[in-house]
Subunit: 236 residues, 2 copies
Amino acid sequence: MTNASNKSNRRHLVSQVEEELLRYIQDSPVLVGEKIPNEFDLSQKFNAGRSTIREAVKSLASRGVLEVRQGAGTFVLSPSTVEDDPLRLARYTDKLQLALELFDVRLMIEPGIAELAAMNANDDDIAEIVRLCDETEELYLAGYDHVRKDIEFHKKIAHCSRNRVVEELVPLIVSAVFTFANVTHRLLLHETIETHRAITDSIAKHDHTGAKCAMEMHLIYNRQMIMKLMKQEKTY
Amino acid sequence: MTNASNKSNRRHLVSQVEEELLRYIQDSPVLVGEKIPNEFDLSQKFNAGRSTIREAVKSLASRGVLEVRQGAGTFVLSPSTVEDDPLRLARYTDKLQLALELFDVRLMIEPGIAELAAMNANDDDIAEIVRLCDETEELYLAGYDHVRKDIEFHKKIAHCSRNRVVEELVPLIVSAVFTFANVTHRLLLHETIETHRAITDSIAKHDHTGAKCAMEMHLIYNRQMIMKLMKQEKTY
């Protein structure tokens, strides 16, 4: 094997272990602030060499998930990466309360953003929004993780507002969709898929009031899901 | 003179020259991207030693106003400091259009924020909001610069929302008030003072709908002022 393909295989191995480790942190009950198993245990768990583990840990540290404290061990800083959660909302532990606060703000901004998008989207924008809506729905129906596509859908709508100040709100929207997906364990309501479609159709027709209302409904359905989860939490 | 008081005098001198230089950049027609006069000319202009000028320039560079390019000179990066304009909106040159885009977003978020503040402000918060409202009005009536106090007023209301996601919007509000003050040359409408008072009174009575409406009126009056300025610009 050449040196170059050796290197590329190695990089592939590291990123594979890195993704496994990330999923382990997200799915298992390793809480924020808790220590993860040591290098030796991890190398056994993931069936990888210690140097591979070390590189994967280093990479997850640079992505904001882990923190290596010299002499003390490696700790979970956040269950999510900076790409997924630019506002680092995962640092808060009262997830459902945070999700409610997020929806109060999303309800302030996203209906108005959808309204602007319906006024300003051009044909290319509309084709892209339709594509993202279709793809999110396909992933949902096939039982795959739809969250990244869902984020792209909301981001694209924000870009179509053609408002430079709305662009400053995109990190908030990204963190919000991601946080919501986590508290609901990435379960999607059927109503979410339906209201995504209603938002898309309204924007495609440049029906700005329709887009505003569809976004409002989309957010209200999801907010109700949080209220339900909060009630369940209190019951147990 | 002791060494310590020498040092403190020097620091005082530098910050005095720094403020003069900042005002010169903000008031004179030095545009973003343009070069400012060289050290020698500045030292004559501000009647200060070249080392004082150098320190003042360095400090304004760290505050995001100037950029020193080795061998090429010192350039204006932004007419405002990072404290005043955390979103660096001053980088955009079509000020009136930007101000309109800002108001589209402020109209999305600030009425809802005022509503939350009216629901959640406690007695200490209300006393503070009344104080900031009084002080902004006093500065206005006395013909002094009210902008920093105005920013404090809007920031305090945002804090009273008791919503952690709203906190993420505070830099946007700060940059927005600052940008508006600049396009209107810090002229205040009488209506601004009146609607500030209406917002304050509504929050003090926990009248959340009143606070929401008063904030909406406040923003609409100011938006109309921008529309008027845009019309004037087109006429000339």
